[in-house]
């Protein structure tokens, strides 16, 4: 049996909130022409305006790293962090759910050649999503700069799970670095579906 809470008195403009035996909650106009239904879901149903999101960038111009070594990218500047879940270059969401995570790293190696430029999304200290694997020509020194990018969906439990971005430069060791003075190196994420 449906129950209805109505507001307003003019047909066609008043808003009604109705719940029926399915447990769904429907928002309708008084005339019933348009209906928006929230699912009968366990847990919290979040609207898009409340989805936690963050974006960060390096605060220093360069981060020196070792070649052929997966290294955590450090981010000292937050563009935004709506739920205060980003600290020490680590995203630890406090809302359980499925997060879209994006990362990019501008990888340079001085005058040395780069044979691989990669970045991975790490969850709880290990690779969760592998980035593009590109094997470059190792001869000469014409491939000294690359931007590695990654995007993936990651589930986080809202308490202990944490997300980081790691980067990798393969090739001869000259001066491998992650360049941070531009917008090329970034880390961002947003909750797209609560658990």
């Amino acid at each position: 049996m449906a129950s209805t809470i109505s507001a307003g008195t003019t047909a066609g403009t008043a808003i009604a909130i109705a719940g029926d035996t399915t447990g769904n909650l429907a928002f309708t106009t008084q005339a019933g022409t348009y209906t928006q239904t929230l699912p009968n879901a366990t847990g919290t149903v979040m609207v898009s305006g409340n989805m936690p999101t963050f974006r960060a960038r390096p605060s220093s111009s360069t981060q020196s790293i070792s070649n052929n070594t997966w290294t955590k990218v450090t981010f000292g500047t937050e563009d935004w962090d709506t739920n205060n879940n980003f600290a020490s270059s680590t995203f630890t969401p406090t809302v359980a759910g499925y997060y879209l995570i994006n990362g990019s790293a501008y990888l340079t190696n001085g005058s040395g050649n780069i044979t691989q430029a990669r970045c991975n999304i790490y969850k709880n200290g290990s690779t969760e999503v592998y980035g593009q694997f590109s094997q470059f020509n190792a001869t000469g020194s014409n491939n000294t700069d690359n931007i590695a990018t990654i995007s993936g969906l990651v589930y986080c439990n809202g308490s202990t799970d944490y997300i980081e971005l790691y980067a990798y430069i393969g090739g001869s060791s000259v001066s491998p670095q992650i360049a941070g003075s531009t917008n090329y190196t970034m880390f961002s994420g947003i909750l797209i579906r609560a658990a």
Binding site: S66, T69, T71, K72, T115, G170
Partner: protein, 54 residues
Amino acid sequence: MLYEKIKTIYPDLSDKDFEQYILLQNDSDGKGDYIKFWNHPTLKQPTQEELDAV
């Protein structure tokens, strides 16, 4: 650098070995590079003494 030390001990290791069997990692926590895992089918993981001697 840890990578160079390992290459000095095992010169025949290739980039593919470091892709498939050996993972070096740095957590940017000031503790430096370390061996995350070593699953090489024939070569043993070098000891800290062997690495320090390079």
